[in-house]
């Protein structure tokens, strides 16, 4: 078993956290943009999308810290990191907690598309290479489903918290 296996696992991990966001983003923006369901909360829901994404990024950072525990030395981080630039890019998602950055919600979409492209690449390879291992696509789709659930869950929690906070302020 060489490091490519661990690199693949790290890639799946990244996909599990971030690849589901584009679809959650697109669906939310689409339905919120529908004229028939326009109301006061529309703008607010959409504005929460980058925060949901930031929450997912924070959870990812937490997982990485848990995996490194108790040795947070540079050597250990270097040894256990297979995709340093991708992980760095993934951790940048935490920056969407900053309201000024969160206002540009399309940035969060662009950020997450990097990870969605892994899925697109594997699907494209399966289409173009006849004898490609089908398990890769199966794995990808399992991970993608989990990512959708995670991103949807994170977004829902933030929406609920936001409404609860609004109610609390009114009371």
């Amino acid at each position: 078993m060489d490091s490519s296996f661990f690199a693949y696992l790290q890639q799946l991990e990244l996909m599990a956290f971030f690849s589901g966001y584009p679809l959650v983003y697109a669906l939310t923006v689409f339905f919120a943009g529908n004229q028939k369901v326009k109301n006061n909360f529309k703008k607010r829901i959409v504005s929460l999308l980058p925060f949901g994404y930031a929450l997912v990024g924070t959870l990812y950072a937490g997982l990485q810290l848990k995996k490194l525990y108790p040795d947070y030395s540079f050597e250990n981080i270097k040894l256990s990191t297979q995709h340093p630039w991708l992980i760095f890019w993934a951790l940048l998602s935490i920056l969407f907690w900053i309201p000024a950055l969160a206002k540009q919600k399309v940035f969060s979409l662009i950020h997450s598309l990097v990870f969605f492209l892994f899925l697109v690449r594997d699907l494209f390879l399966q289409l173009s290479i006849s004898n490609m291992n089908e398990s890769i696509v199966k794995n990808d789709m399992n991970v993608y489903t989990n990512s959708l659930l995670l991103n949807f869950g994170a977004f829902t929690i933030l929406v609920l918290l936001s409404f609860l906070f609004t109610l609390y302020k009114k009371v």
Partner: protein, 261 residues
């Protein structure tokens, strides 16, 4: 998001995701498990029975122990922790050696007839089995051990040429008390008394349960053969064997072949 409208983006993402699910949901790579051939244990027992009679040569109804093609093997872990130490007993037989027969015999071969047994394939209550080994005939293939440390360790004396030593200090014998079906296989459970003096002051009898396998009768040209295999384990410490070279547990395997020539 002017470059790519929300609607277009959503359709694109849904299409890609949908294709992924369709492509990932094929069962082409799944392993097809073979249908089990049986859902339970199939136990088949015939109606064969074998008796030694008086071992009259030429009488096909009387079954004789084919000692030349039989064996009594032992094995134990070296120093109780390493690989197996193994050996066999050169002299053994299927005879109930009562006290009166536990003497020295002036003979080069077996002094007692192998007639103390009966086997009924379908009625183990009628089966019985008595046997013995001469301890000092243990053969590991290393004469230095066989006539050296093994003799002292097992509390016996060296082989006297031209003599069969069936004295109590050189004899380990078994006498079955119950034979019954193994409900989970074609084998049988044999409860028997093992009597051996070892390094004790007097022979000790211990009740042991072993597994008996019957290898059914088969015809070979103008005669027939069958086999019995008895496996059991004993604790040599019970018999005063204090050697640190051998484990406390000794596995015994008796492979008995019979013919009706």
């Amino acid at each position: 998001m002017k470059l790519l409208s929300n609607k277009t983006l959503m359709i694109l993402l849904v299409l890609i995701s949908g294709y992924g699910y369709i492509a990932g949901c094929t069962h082409k790579g799944d392993l097809l498990l073979p249908v089990p051939t049986s859902t339970g244990i199939i136990i088949t027992r015939g109606v064969n029975f074998h008796l030694p009679g008086n071992m009259t040569a030429g009488d096909s109804s009387q079954w004789k122990l084919d000692k030349a093609h039989s064996s009594v093997l032992w094995s134990t872990n070296y120093v109780g922790a390493a690989g197996l130490l193994t050996g066999r007993f050169n002299q053994f037989g299927i005879h109930e050696v009562i006290s009166a027969k536990m003497i020295y015999y002036a003979a080069t071969g077996q002094a007692l007839k192998d007639t103390s047994w009966a086997f009924y394939e379908n009625d183990p209550s009628k089966s019985y089995l008595n046997g013995y080994v001469q301890i000092n005939t243990s053969n590991t293939g290393e004469p230095g051990r066989d006539t050296g440390c093994n003799i002292g360790t097992l509390g016996t004396i060296k082989v006297i040429p031209g003599t069969q030593n069936l004295s109590d200090s050189n004899l380990a014998k078994i006498k079955s008390t119950k034979i019954e079906f193994d409900p989970l296989s074609n084998d049988y459970f044999v409860t028997f008394n093992l009597t051996w003096k070892g390094k004790l002051t007097a022979p000790l009898t211990k009740s042991i349960v072993g597994r008996l396998k019957y290898i059914p009768k088969a015809y070979v040209s103008n005669y027939a053969v069958f086999g019995l295999q008895l496996k059991f384990q004993l604790n040599c410490r019970d018999f005063g064997i204090a050697s640190t070279s051998v484990s406390d547990k000794i596995d015994i395997e008796c492979n008995m072949n019979f013919n009706n020539k």
